[in-house]
C-alpha cells in the first residue's frame, strides 16, 4: 500500500546502487524532480531504462549515476543531440556507458509484457533493421500457427519504476491524464514503484475509463509540484520548449554542464 513520503526518503528507501531503474513519461510527465534527487543522493552503477533518455538521463549520465542505458531514441526532441549521452558514448566521460538499444515499438511491447508478467515480448518488428546485429537481446521466434518469424525481446521488469502524475487522492490512488506513455506498464512491471504528483486532492474526480493506478500497486507517493518541469503536466503547466533549446548549449560543454547541475540540482532542496 502506498505511503506518502518525502522525495528524499522515497529515493533513499527504494533506489539502491546497481539497481535497474526506469523513470518514464513519454515527453510528458517526465519525473525530473525524482531524477534530480537521485543525482543529489549520488546513486551509482544504475541501469537506466527509458524509451527517450531526454534531458533527465542526460543529466544523470553526465553526473555518473549510470553504468548502463536501455533506450530507443536518445536525442533532444526537435533540437538535436543529448550531448552528455554522446560524450559518454564517444569519449567515455565521466566514464564508459554500456547501451542496449531498441526501437520504440520493441520497448513499448517489452514494458507491456513486463506488466503482463511475461518473460518476453513478441512483435512484428526489426524487419530489415541492423539493430539485431548490435543488440544480442533481439532474437526471433516462429509463430507455431502460421510459421511467421517474429521478433522476440526480454520483457522489462525493473527494480524501481518512477513516474510523475497529476494527482493522488488521500489514499494514494493516482490519476494520469494526457499522453500516458508507458507509465502504467512501468509501475505494474516494477518490484517497487514511486509516483510523484503535482498535488494531493480529496477526490480524483475521474472518468470511469481514466488511467488510474490504485494505491496498492504503488510503494511511495510523493507530492512534488512542478516535478515534471521542464517537461510538462497536462492541466498544470506547458513544456518549456525554450529550456529544451537552451539545454543544447549547456550540455555541450562539460564545465557549463557541471555549473548548471551545481546551481540547479545539487544546491537545491529536494
Amino acid at each position: 500500500m502506498a505511503k506518502f513520503m518525502s522525495l528524499h526518503d522515497a529515493i533513499s528507501t527504494y533506489v539502491k546502487d546497481g539497481d535497474t531503474v526506469a523513470l518514464e513519461g513519454f515527453t510528458h510527465l517526465i519525473p525530473f524532480a525524482a531524477g534530480h534527487e537521485i543525482i543529489r543522493q549520488q546513486k551509482k552503477d544504475l541501469t537506466l531504462v527509458r524509451m527517450t533518455p531526454d534531458l533527465i538521463y542526460d543529466q544523470m549520465i553526465g553526473m555518473g549515476c549510470a553504468s548502463k542505458l536501455i533506450f530507443s531514441w536518445g536525442g533532444n526532441p526537435g533540437v538535436g543531440s543529448l550531448h552528455r549521452l554522446r560524450d559518454a558514448l564517444e569519449h567515455n566521460w565521466p566514464h564508459s556507458l554500456e547501451t542496449i538499444e531498441h526501437s520504440h515499438a520493441a520497448m513499448a511491447n517489452a514494458y507491456e509484457a513486463g506488466a503482463a508478467g511475461l518473460p518476453l515480448a513478441v512483435l512484428r518488428g526489426y524487419q530489415g533493421s541492423e539493430l539485431p546485429k548490435i543488440n544480442p537481446y533481439i532474437r526471433s521466434i516462429t509463430c507455431p500457427f502460421t510459421g511467421e518469424e517474429l521478433a522476440a525481446i526480454p520483457s522489462i521488469r525493473v527494480d524501481v519504476g518512477i513516474v510523475h502524475a497529476q494527482k493522488a487522492d488521500r489514499q494514494g490512488n493516482v490519476l494520469i491524464e494526457g499522453i500516458v506513455g508507458v507509465q502504467k506498464e512501468v509501475v505494474l512491471g516494477a518490484k517497487h514503484a514511486i509516483v510523484t504528483v503535482e498535488e494531493i486532492v480529496d477526490d480524483l474526480n475521474n472518468h470511469p475509463n481514466a488511467t488510474v493506478l490504485p494505491a496498492w500497486v504503488i510503494d511511495a507517493v510523493v507530492e512534488a509540484p512542478r516535478g515534471a518541469y521542464p517537461s510538462y503536466a497536462y492541466g498544470y503547466y506547458e513544456r518549456d520548449n525554450s529550456f529544451y533549446k537552451e539545454w543544447d548549449a549547456i550540455a555541450r560543454d562539460r564545465e557549463a554542464f557541471l555549473a548548471w547541475i551545481n546551481d540547479n540540482v545539487l544546491n537545491v532542496q529536494g
Partner: protein
C-alpha cells in the same frame, strides 16, 4: 504567375502534396510534421495525423517541437498509450503512410539514424531508431523527406536503422507481412521513387530551376534519372502563405512557451 519561394518551402509543399486527403499518416517529427500539417491545412483537410506519443487524429494549430507536445494531445480526437499506439494502430495495419525523415538515406531507401562510424566507436552518435524501424515496415507505404546533400544521400551507410529495400534492394521479399516500403523521397531538389525491378531510387521529377548536375553533385552515389523526368509544379501563393503563417505561429508560440 511565379511566386518567390525558398528550396525548403519547395520541399515542404511538394512533400505535403504527396499526402492524399483522407489518408491515415503516422508522422515523424520535423520536416514530415511540417509537410503533413501543411497538407491538412490545404488540399487534405480530412487527412488523419497520428504521432507516436499516442495522439490520434490530431490537428495542431502550431507545429510541435517534440513528438509529445501538449498541443498534439489537446487537439487530438483521442490519446492512447504508447504500447497501444505501436501494437494496435501501427502493427495492426491501420496506417496508410509512414512519413519519415532521417540523417542519411541510401540508394535503396534505407535510413540511418543510429551512428556515423563503427557502432562500438562512433564518430558521431545519432539519436537512434525511435519509432522509425516499425513505421518503415508496418505502414502500407512510406514517404521520406530530407534535404539533399552528399552528407545525407550516402552510398553504403554505416548502419541501417530502418529498412527501405535492404542493402541488396530485395529485403522485403523475405517477409510474409510487410508494407510496400518507400514509394517516394522528396528533397529540396527533386522527387525520387524506387525503380521497378531494382528498387533503386531514381529521379522522377526535378524542381523548377534545379539542374541535373546539381542533383548528381548532391548525391553520394551515381544517381540515375527516369526515362521521362517531370518538372515539379511550383508552390501556389496560397500554399506558401499558409505555410508561412504556420511557421510564424509556431515560432511565436515556442518563443513564449514555458511561462
Amino acid at each position: 504567375m511565379t511566386a518567390t519561394y525558398t528550396p525548403s518551402e519547395m520541399m515542404t509543399v511538394t512533400a505535403a502534396r504527396s499526402l492524399p486527403n483522407g489518408a491515415v499518416c503516422f508522422v515523424g517529427i520535423g520536416l514530415p510534421s511540417e509537410a503533413a500539417n501543411l497538407a491538412r491545412l490545404t488540399h487534405a483537410p480530412d487527412v488523419v495525423l497520428i504521432y507516436e506519443s499516442g495522439t490520434i487524429q490530431t490537428k495542431p494549430n502550431v507545429l510541435p517541437l517534440s513528438i509529445g507536445d501538449g498541443e498534439l494531445c489537446e487537439t487530438a480526437l483521442t490519446t492512447v498509450s504508447v504500447p497501444e499506439m505501436f501494437r494496435y494502430w501501427l502493427q495492426g495495419g491501420k496506417v496508410d503512410v509512414g512519413f519519415l525523415g532521417a540523417a542519411q538515406v541510401d540508394r535503396f531507401g534505407n535510413l540511418n539514424t543510429t551512428v556515423i562510424g563503427p557502432y562500438d566507436a562512433p564518430k558521431t552518435r545519432l539519436p537512434g531508431g525511435g519509432g522509425a524501424p516499425e513505421i518503415a515496415t508496418s505502414s502500407k507505404e512510406v514517404f521520406i523527406t530530407l534535404k539533399h546533400s552528399k552528407r545525407t544521400f550516402v552510398d553504403n551507410p554505416d548502419f541501417v536503422t530502418s529498412v527501405g529495400y535492404g542493402r541488396d534492394g530485395k529485403a522485403r521479399e523475405k517477409y510474409k507481412v510487410i508494407g510496400k516500403g518507400p514509394t517516394r523521397v522528396i528533397t529540396d531538389l527533386c522527387i525520387m521513387a524506387p525503380e521497378e525491378g531494382t528498387n533503386e531510387l531514381i529521379v522522377t521529377s526535378i524542381h523548377p530551376g534545379v539542374s541535373r548536375e546539381q542533383i548528381i553533385e548532391a548525391t553520394g552515389w551515381a544517381i540515375r534519372f527516369a526515362d521521362s523526368v517531370a518538372e515539379t509544379a511550383e508552390p501556389s501563393e496560397q500554399e506558401l502563405s499558409i505555410l508561412r503563417e504556420l511557421k510564424a505561429r509556431t515560432a511565436a508560440f515556442h518563443a513564449a512557451s514555458g511561462a
